[in-house]
Point group: C2
Chain length 132, copies 2
Amino acid sequence: MRIGEVARKTGVKAETIRFYEREGILTAPPRTRSNYRDYGPDEAATLTFIRRARDLGFSMPDVRELLELSNEDDRSCAAVDSLARAHLDQVERKIAALQIMRDELSRMIASCEQDTISDCRIIDTLAASHGP
Amino acid sequence: MRIGEVARKTGVKAETIRFYEREGILTAPPRTRSNYRDYGPDEAATLTFIRRARDLGFSMPDVRELLELSNEDDRSCAAVDSLARAHLDQVERKIAALQIMRDELSRMIASCEQDTISDCRIIDTLAASHGP
DNA sequence: CTTGACCTTGTAGTGGCTACAAGGTGCATA
DNA sequence: TATGCACCTTGTAGCCACTACAAGGTCAAG
Ligand SMILES: [Zn+2]
Ligand SMILES: [Zn+2]
Ligand SMILES: [Zn+2]
Ligand SMILES: [Zn+2]
């Protein structure tokens, strides 16, 4: 099938698929007589794999690693697990950082009494209010 | 003071300060005889403002807007508030998205029983297990 | 006089796409 | 047959907010 169809089936845009090919993460498929990329089900499966991993926030290097590992059926999956655990860790850190942002933003917004800018607690907080 | 000192005082790296100047977000300071940038307390205050806003996750366009608004003392702070609220909203969306990631990752990791890759539930999930 | 910390400019790289531009191909319809 | 239209091709540049590096200038201490 052509790139547009595999794009629809996998949820990965055609431009992105070409990008993955350039980057070497997806092997180049055969071409039709008219030089169109001609994908089979294997490539579609790989793209689905990539999209799921990306949706879970794995970086492209992580995805590369996961793809390689996924082909080594007989090896232990310890490497997969530790990669996933490390990633979960990162996600949790990111959540924690964003929750701090959220709390600070909420406090700022709550403290503002809709006055003039010179009295605005939001501007005040940003300008100098806390810290040395 | 020179760029290194203001960098230390504000927590904004020298390279970043020069970058802000190129981008027009920070006005170019006077220069010493030897062509070094010579900052006063106002620029330092602006940089602190920028850093605090960035730490709270505001985008550079947002920061620009906030800086402009911060100079208009007599206007109502409604624009500031709505900008902050919109940003808080985005942060909350991001947290929600990351929590979904986290939960899915946790489930995947918990379901794996440290076997071979061909039996790994993490690889399975990525490859095809859920969805059409 | 040399060392080393600091400063200057400019350019290119990061991640992960996304958006063109300019042209070729394939199929349905008038 | 012609025409339109959707689709495909390549290559390049842009996005965000920096960050790194190269090649050189300046200044105070020892
Ligand atoms: Zn990761
Ligand atoms: Zn306010
Ligand atoms: Zn914002
Ligand atoms: Zn496993």
